[in-house]
Symmetry: C2
Subunit: 136 residues, 2 copies
Amino acid sequence: MSDAIGNVVSDAILDQVAFDASGLVAAIAQQHDSGEVLMLAWMNRAALAETLSTGQACYYSRSRQRLWRKGERSGQTQRLVELRLDCDRDAVLLLVDQTGVACHTGRRSCFHQAVRDDGLVAISDPEVDPDHLYGA
Amino acid sequence: MSDAIGNVVSDAILDQVAFDASGLVAAIAQQHDSGEVLMLAWMNRAALAETLSTGQACYYSRSRQRLWRKGERSGQTQRLVELRLDCDRDAVLLLVDQTGVACHTGRRSCFHQAVRDDGLVAISDPEVDPDHLYGA
């Protein structure tokens, strides 16, 4: 974990992020050691500030229009290892340590459909029963 | 390269992508062997179709409002190895083989700024002089 994580986040850092007209930036979560891309979500300023200050990934749910503390229901949390911005500062890359699975389908990564000749093909199987994740 | 790449792309695949109200999806480019996340850009339906049919990454430039054939000026092209969609089908992951550098600053990855105690810190150096990439 970098020294900057877990401390109060200065406005100076947040002010440098180029949030879009909706106040959001795209955020990629990548498993820090394997390099696997786990998911793409969105952050507003509050989500980014919370992620940096707590060291746990917090996104902004566009469908629910509120902060989404990753794993709050499923327990499948993401511990932040490092946070990077791209050259335009309008995209975020989170290097995380994923507990369990990132995807609500029970698969490790959300990117589990590949384009093949016969269309979209699932390239991984669920590791966890989604009913167990969300208490159906 | 998967069998689906380099052939005419069926509308059946493109119809399954959840483009947003602006007709775009976020697209992550990842180096296929090292796992390095290179950049995040956007694709419209035409860009996605061209990427699949040519096997070379083509994005949609929101600033220029036209197709952006990656490397068309700089020569820093991205050969497509595999294309994946996420569970909601509103984000694309391209596994690519990057020629040279992905970033217009001459760095390998666009995600070259990390949050540290003293703010944003560049964590990689340019490998190529940007003036050489764009013929300044």
